[in-house]
Amino acid sequence: MPWLSLWAQGTTVTLPSWIQWMIVWADPQFTDARLLGGFFGGFMTWSKLLGLFCLISWLGTRFFNLFLRSQQSRSGQSVVLNLPVIGLLLFVGIAILTAFLSIVQQAAVFPIPLIAGYPIPALLVGIEFLLGFLALEAVMWSSYRRPQGGSASQRGLALGVHAALAAGVFVIYKAFEFNRNVRGLKGSIASQDWQLILTDGLRYGATYAGLVVLAYFALGMFKEALSVRWRRLYSIAWQTVLDAVRRMWAPWVVLVLFVLFLAFTNWFLGGPGTRTPELARRYIETLSWVSSLLLSLMILLLAPMSLPTDIRTQVIYTITTKPVNRLELIWGRLIGYMGLITAVLLVMGLVSMFFVERVVNSRISTTREQAVASREVGKLDDARRSEEQAAQLENKMSARVPVFGFLSFTDSRGKARRKGIDVGQEQKLRSHIEGASASKASWRFGQAPQKEGRTLTAENVLPIERLLKPGTLEAVEDSLFRARYDQAQIKMNLEAPNLKGSERRRLEDRLTKVDSEVKRIQAELEPIQKQERDLREQIQKLEGAGKSADLTSLRAERDKLHSPPIPVEMVFNVFRTSKGELGEAVRASMVVSNPLRPDLELHRSVFPVIEYYTIRRFFPSRMLVGSMGQLAIEIQCITPSQFIGMSEKDLYVLSNQGSFRTNYIAGLTGVWLQALVITSVGLFAGTFLSWSVAFLLTLAVFVFGQLAIGFLDQFNQMGVVGGGPFESLIRLLTHENLQSNLASTPAVMAAKSFDLFLTPILTRLIYVIPNISALDVSNQVALGFAVTTPTLIGQVLLGLGYALPLTAFAYYIFKNREIAA
């Protein structure tokens, strides 16, 4: 809908909200993550895509049924070439011809004449569009011919689809009309505009039609789901587990292979060449990968084989003749396999977790011992390095929850910039700041940059309640600040003119409550302040008197009254323009400020930048008092002629440090979800394919979903250089590089024509192949970051987003399949 978007940018008048919503619901290319964001946006995209799949499947089924019926003539004889096949061949033929003529036109090999002012390819597209539409209509209605007829609900669905198409045209027409009114245009609509209205309208209508078909199928599925009973699911799940254990011996084989792998892990991962800080990451990533691979292989063999084996051995006869609906057969198996996977994964997960802990903790102890030994013999650099390495390892063996800020830059002349200095391709992801200049990188927490149109999320606001320890001086002071802020807000609102009586009373009631709250917090704060003051004075006295014996306990007592310092972690890279001084690290400074409290003293610190090491610094918790979750951290490079590079996620405030074990188990969820998706694919494939073909299909989906999603995404965004598959084949055979233009030979043009025809189909694979690799969170665990609840929920929804439609499709296919045929 380019004209609508262009128009929308060119005017300040917005479309009526109902049209806006209809457009949002209609256009499958609207990425709702940008438009709406959050769960609802994702759900909309999911529904629209699923709807389009349902529509295509529904029409495909109708076409297939028509094809099957056409295979038999009225006399009962089989027909070799029937009308649907001829139509399909004609459709594909015209499409390829159109693509060929477009390529010829682009290459300007010979002139393509115009007919009635239109180029021939455009006319062919129009004819194909019209014929395709008429064919679909014929397919749709022919299936409702007597005597087969079809049920009333199916006929209703066909009507609903047409109503949806009409709605699409209506929405576009109303948007167009609104546009004309705003511009003050009068008179009849031009024929070219009508073309736009019709084509875009039908495109939108197709999405609505998809939603109608989706609703129809979802309703059918819902009705079936109501008759699902746990006892039957349990029975089928239990049998599925026994099948895997007793017949296939699958879990035993997997566990034996895992143990064998574990026995030799140290040979490959823990050798002397392994960098100590990388040890935990390597072990965790490798063991997660092995667990995932073994489980995936297990389920790749089990799931696609399950239903086809039962059908081949005809055991399915004795089950489907019991009161078991087909959905229970699919879900029961899914539950059974997932139960088995859960058990095997827990065993593998717990074993690998203890294994990693043992190996890494042992390395930490050894490294610390080395540090002590180095210090004793005066090798202070070695000691510092060993301590740093041990600290890095400890970092990886934790579950850190980072809070990220928004990054902006100031250049060496003090001017604000979105990006820092670009030092070249290799460091493209990071922007650099120059040493010994005004150049600095600033992270802002709790407030989105206004000009950049970025939205603030919970991930960017400092969770004060978690960072400040309850009952401490800072926490109570912060509460008081917030209460006073509320107090001031209410008083300001009360001063507003024309305030309604009821609203005034509500505000006054609220003010009374806040006033008493302020008093209560003051009362709570005073003794803490007094105690802290007393302790400080005592410590000063003792320090003056040189009595160090009592100081430790007094300091500990004083520290208890304060929240612990807040950790900030950062990973920077250094770009050196000169060698600098040998053995001297590049140094940086950090300034922490509270934007809402200019009265607070800034916190400054200077530290060496160790490249690709996680640097941890602390700032006092008092900086957060009255911050309302906002904070500013500025980094400057001190060393002259050197540059420090950073990206937005390179610096974060640590809000929490959870347990490694809990995090490790949470990280296994990713492996579990991957197995869920593969199981669903396997079961889906098994409903209509023999086990060997179902296995190959599931394997292909697994490989594509794990390894090729990035390429598919690039392909979808037309970011692949060297053309489509046929053009690439020509380049391969003729040893042409990817960038060069190929000569317009007939073979090249034919290849490009086939590519032009195939590419739109292949690019849609991105919507079909489940993104299995996206479910993996082991990298997060390996880097020592917590797999948070929102992340887990997101991953679970993503996994279910694939699994649920797959099982629904499996159910519909299985339901309409003659089991004994």
Binding site: R69, L242, D243, R246, I319, K322, P323, V324
Partner: protein, 306 residues
């Protein structure tokens, strides 16, 4: 559908198709039949006659190409009707890695049977089919006869109102066959309806109330066993003490030769003979059988025309 009809088919036809949807075999042609409550109904026919196809259509394992089938007045695709049905397939299709108890519990859980009741029924059925001593052995270790027995037990786990048995006595020894026959008769006594298919004619003759004979997918004959086996146009006179030499004059002069007429009635043939005759005639006279005088079966025990 009659008020006490359990099964009814109307014009039920099935054409098997190849991968491309082209018709391959017409397995069943316009079958019309009705099975009443409480009867034992036999479906007879040689291999490939459409018996198993009929049963699969009734169970919804196949979809009809034409016509319809109703069980308990409901379409065969209705899953809920299966609560009242028990089915024994022609081969024992069960999970071989389960033992007898596990098998029956697995199938039992698919029905709405309370756990305690299910356990009780599992033990009863294992006793009934004589597998008590082997109940903990996996089915892969079972002989064919034992597998038939556990198959029958799974068909009865829900105490069904309608039992469909596809060749229930195949693979069983004579004692086992006799036990199964008694069991089937017992099921009828309990008011259940039994439909069984097979080609072991003596067994069918013993227990069936009515039979249908299929050949090449067509219904060739249907009726009560006693009616079908009765030869309608021949009068049988049972005589006593008749000399061997008098057979030539027997029709006209029974009384003149001093014989004593002790019984006059219709002779019956065996089901086996009837079956073979129908199958033989099938190719010559397609369609439903029309009984003509010269096509009558020979009475059993009759010496026949010399």
């Amino acid at each position: 559908m009659g008020s006490n009809s359990i099964i009814e088919t109307r014009n039920l036809s099935k054409v098997y198709k190849d991968f491309w949807g082209r018709p391959k075999v017409q397995a069943l042609k316009a079958l019309d039949l009705e099975v009443k409550q409480g009867e034992i109904f036999g479906v007879l026919g040689p291999n490939g006659s459409g018996k198993t196809t009929t049963i699969k259509l009734l169970l919804g394992l196949l979809f009809p190409s034409e016509g319809e089938a109703l069980i308990f007045g409901e379409p065969t695709t209705n899953v809920a009707k299966n609560e009242r049905i028990g089915y024994l397939p022609e081969e024992t299709y069960l999970y071989k890695y389960l033992n007898a108890e596990e098998t029956l519990h697995f199938y039992g859980r698919l029905f709405k049977i309370p756990s305690r009741e299910r356990t009780k029924r599992v033990h009863e059925l294992i006793d009934l089919v004589g597998l008590t001593r082997s109940k903990h052995r996996q089915l892969r270790e079972y002989s064919k006869g034992m597998q038939r027995r556990i198959g029958l037990a799974q068909a009865l786990i829900n105490q069904p109102e309608l039992v469909l048995l596809d060749e229930p006595t195949s693979g069983l020894d004579p004692i086992g066959t006799d036990e199964i026959k008694k069991l089937i008769v017992d099921l009828r006594r309990q008011g259940k309806t039994v439909v069984l298919s097979g080609h072991l004619l003596a067994d069918m003759q013993d227990i069936c109330d009515r039979i249908a004979i299929l050949h090449h997918g067509e219904l060739r004959e249907i009726g009560k066993v006693s009616d079908l086996l009765t030869v309608q146009d021949i009068t049988q006179i049972k005589v006593k003490d008749l000399p061997e030499s008098a057979w030539e004059e027997i029709r006209g002069v029974v009384s003149r030769h001093g014989g004593e007429v002790v019984d006059v009635g219709r002779p019956t043939t065996t089901l086996e003979e009837l079956f073979l005759r129908i199958v033989t005639e099938s190719d010559k006279y397609p369609g439903r059988r029309r009984i003509a005088a010269d096509q009558q079966p020979t009475p059993a025990g009759s010496p026949g025309p010399k």
